[in-house]
Subunit: 142 residues, 2 copies
DNA sequence: GTTAGTGCAAAATCTTTGCATATTT
DNA sequence: AAATATGCAAAGATTTTGCACTAAC
């Protein structure tokens, strides 16, 4: 069993127990450039701790998604879910057309979409810009 | 068995055989405001033709996705795929940073994402703008 | 008439759950 | 010590496939 970084403070912030398995999964996600499937995460986790089980991976991923720091998305072509950390440096905004309020949305749903665009169009994607407009809660009521 | 609209010309355009089952599925999708799961489409299809099978639904959806006029996406919270027609009025572009070429991308991956934003932020979404930049095939080679 | 599509049932794949044991607080 | 998480194996759900039959071109 390899040593892994302990994410004690991080887990405390989200009021979840700090277990070895959760640290392993968080570590893997944190070191992933691309979104990963549960199976991929499981295989990487086994390199660190041979005894980890797939159900723990699923339970951990579900927990992280509930806590909203992990994003679950679909791999467009296959019937698989992929997971990626909701990194702070990748925010989008909801823009209210009435009061001009900006609401930050933590996560970005485009990673997997970009992968598929790369393949389909042979386009080397550097970045994207996403703006979503509509009416905020307050302005809907007035 | 109800009468359904026949999409002969449409299917001819995409070089696929015009079958009753495919017309039913296309009709259902065309009349759907929201993306639908295979199961939902199956149940609606059974109202029109009691004998239609779930495997035909899956095979038809897979075909339509291959032909690129149907978009497959994930229902973020559940482990399900949803399908929605790639309507012409909803294109995005890949913008080349070197030669300023614009490449139209037919489909839009944001429908399901928007649904989830509506719920999370109680934000009434009217529209969005998505721009993707990078380098086109030609400019990568030079 | 030939080629391709369909329905059914069975298989494959992905995900969740029950329960006894182990770990965390 | 109490509460929660884990591993295993079994179950559940969704999707795919083989094959005989049927429909489309």
């Amino acid at each position: 069993m390899k040593n892994i970084k302990i994410h004690e403070t991080f887990f405390k912030e989200y009021s979840i127990k700090n277990t070895r398995q959760r640290s392993i999964v968080l570590d893997i996600l944190d070191n992933s450039k691309e979104a990963k499937t549960a199976e991929e995460i499981f295989l990487l986790a086994k390199d660190i701790d041979e005894t980890i089980s797939l159900s723990t991976i699923y339970r951990t991923l579900t927990l992280f998604v509930e806590k909203k720091f992990l994003i679950k998305m679909s791999a467009l072509e296959e019937n698989l879910s992929k997971y990626a950390l909701n990194k702070a440096d990748h925010a989008h905004y909801l823009l209210c057309l009435k009061c001009d309020k900006r609401i930050e949305v933590g996560y970005c749903p485009l990673s997997v979409y970009e992968e598929s665009l790369k393949e389909t169009y042979n386009f080397n994607i550097v970045g994207h810009k996403l703006e979503i407009f509509g009416y905020c809660q307050d302005c809907q009521n007035s």
